[in-house]
């Protein structure tokens, strides 16, 4: 198998924020590469600037320096072309499930009838048929996050940016949604960047894991995960799983933190 070509490269990105005690450097000369149809997890200590990277890629923040390159061309950002999913489901409470799924297509100005047909199809595929007219507050956390996932996928984004999307859910729901995500990524041929605190989740889902250092964030190491199982649950029982898990724990200095 020949190596996949590069889809997105982040080059020498720096970003500082004005803090109470002067400038806080969050990203320091950060570079990494995302390949076509990649599934990359980014892990790192809390507050190391993982969300800042996403905000720069999504065009919500401008880097102080550095550049983004998409399929060889330099770009400002991927605004309008990414599917951004956060820990909070960010469903609009005044919109029904259907209305929430339609949000992105509406901003794009897609024909209403066409958009609605597509939305209903997606809802059916994800087991949410019959909930089209329900308001988000009546749904469970797992269902809400599934709606958020559909809202993201229906836009047919170039890259999915998932910022700890499952961390607010209970473990069983999380396992279930990891499976839903993995299937969806296969079905729709998506590239995914996943920010997570959960090493276990990173190993079970990803093809590669980028480990960041503490603030200011730099890439410490990139691990290839060579587990090829159909589901995240099966991945957890793979013989190599615990090896990757412990290697990543060591990279994050979890041992030393414990003894400190």
């Amino acid at each position: 198998m020949q190596p996949a070509p590069t889809q997105l490269s982040v080059r020498n990105v720096r970003k500082s924020f004005a803090g109470k005690t002067g400038e806080v450097r969050v990203l320091d000369d950060l570079s990494f590469v995302i390949k076509e149809r990649d599934f990359v997890s980014i892990i790192g200590p809390s507050g190391c600037g993982k969300t800042t990277i996403f905000n720069i890629i999504a065009g919500l923040l401008e880097p102080d320096s550095g550049s983004l390159h998409y399929r060889g061309e330099e770009i400002e950002s991927l605004r309008g072309r990414v599917g951004y999913m956060m820990q909070k489901d960010l469903l609009f409470p005044w919109r029904t499930v259907l209305g929430n799924v339609l949000l992105g297509l509406e901003t794009r100005g897609v024909d209403r009838v066409e958009a609605e047909g597509k939305a209903r199809e997606y809802l059916k595929d994800f087991g949410l048929a019959g909930f089209e007219n329900a308001y988000p507050k009546t749904l469970s956390g797992g269902m809400r996050q599934r709606v958020a996932l559909i809202r993201t996928l229906i836009m047919d984004p170039d890259i999915l940016l998932l910022d700890e999307p499952f961390s607010a859910l209970d473990y069983q729901t999380r396992l279930y949604l990891e499976g839903v995500l993995k299937d969806a990524v296969e079905t729709y041929h998506k590239t995914v960047i996943l920010v997570t605190h959960d090493i276990d989740e990173a190993v079970a889902l990803s093809k590669r894991v980028v480990v960041l250092s503490g603030r200011p964030a730099r890439v410490k190491i990139v691990h290839d995960i060579e587990i090829d199982t159909p589901s995240p649950i099966a991945a957890r029982s793979d013989a190599r799983f615990s090896g990757y898990f412990h290697a990543l724990c060591a990279e994050l200095d979890i041992q030393t933190e414990k003894t400190a």
């Binding site: 990414v82 609009f92 005044w94 919109r95 901003t107 308001y135 507050k137 940016l161």
Partner: protein
């Protein structure tokens, strides 16, 4: 288990106690309170404990009310005041809300005008009443203008504050989807301010009535304010009470009309699961 017995006893006692908190029983208790109030009042007046000249009497109030209803005078005064109040409320709320929302568009303009808004808000608008009558005459317009001045500023501040507080993450999400500023405004900001704006309806419908009545006090030929003012200058307390109670009922009805409007406009806010925590 040592704690089990007292707990069981407490439960049993709670089950035996009579439950007053049903809609019908609540209504009966409320009606009883009103009846008791009027009965004590009437008895007080008849026994000479309180002066009928200064406080009027329920019997007098009812007979005057009956007469004024029969002549159609009360209804026409009520309609007139209600019309002024609602017109002022609608114009003031729409104008104020739109202005408050528009301030979201420019942080610069918003910061620029903020002290002026605070300044205008800190003037007791009732103090404007004499000027308003000078400017707009003694007819309908001056009352509506006064109501607008009272309601617009409340709506403006509420709408502006709510727009400022609109969830930034929802806006970011839209921007990441490629939405422009107008789309963010109409899809995220405006809907999220609706609950606050509708909450001001409750306050503002009252202010609408205040504006109408105060305007009528200053100078008028009709309306409940006119009725109260002229009657009180003649020491006709029973008629004053008729006007006051009519205003109270009007405000009461309006409050529940707002309630229905809120339910209709905010279906997503309604829930059948929210119960108060039992303490």
């Amino acid at each position: 288990m040592p704690g089990a017995a007292p707990l069981a006893k407490r439960k049993a006692r709670r089950r035996r106690s009579f439950n007053f908190d049903t809609p019908l029983r609540r209504a009966m208790l409320q009606a009883l309170a009103v009846l008791l109030f009027f009965a004590l009042w009437e008895i007080g007046v008849r026994m000479g404990w309180i002066s009928a000249f200064l406080v009027g009497s329920p019997a007098g109030i009812f007979s005057f009310a009956a007469k004024m209803i029969a002549s159609g005078e009360l209804l026409s005064d009520t309609w007139y005041t209600l019309f002024e109040a609602i017109l002022g409320f609608v114009i003031g709320t729409i104008f104020g809300s739109l202005l408050g929302l528009a301030l979201w568009y420019s942080v610069f303009v918003a910061r620029l005008v903020e002290p002026f808004i605070v300044a205008i808000n800190s003037v007791p608008k009732i103090a404007l009443a004499p000027i308003v009558v000078l400017w707009f005459g003694t007819g309908l317009v001056s009352k509506v203008a006064l109501s607008v001045s009272l309601t617009a500023i409340v709506a403006l501040i509420a709408a502006y504050q709510a727009a400022k507080d609109a969830d930034v993450d929802l806006q970011s999400l839209l921007i990441s989807m490629g939405a422009d500023k107008h789309q963010v405004f109409f899809k995220a900001v405006v809907p999220s301010t609706l609950p606050s704006i509708i909450a001001t309806f409750r306050i503002n419908i009252g202010f609408g009535l205040v504006g109408a009545v105060v305007g009528e006090f200053i100078s008028s030929q009709r309306g409940l304010g006119h009725l109260i003012y002229t009657a009180s200058s003649l020491y006709d307390l029973d008629t004053v009470w008729v006007g006051l109670f009519t205003l109270m009922i009007t405000g009461f009805v309006l409050y529940y009309v707002i309630d229905i409007i809120e339910r209709t406009l905010l279906p997503w806010k309604q829930s059948n699961t929210a119960h108060q925590v039992q303490v």
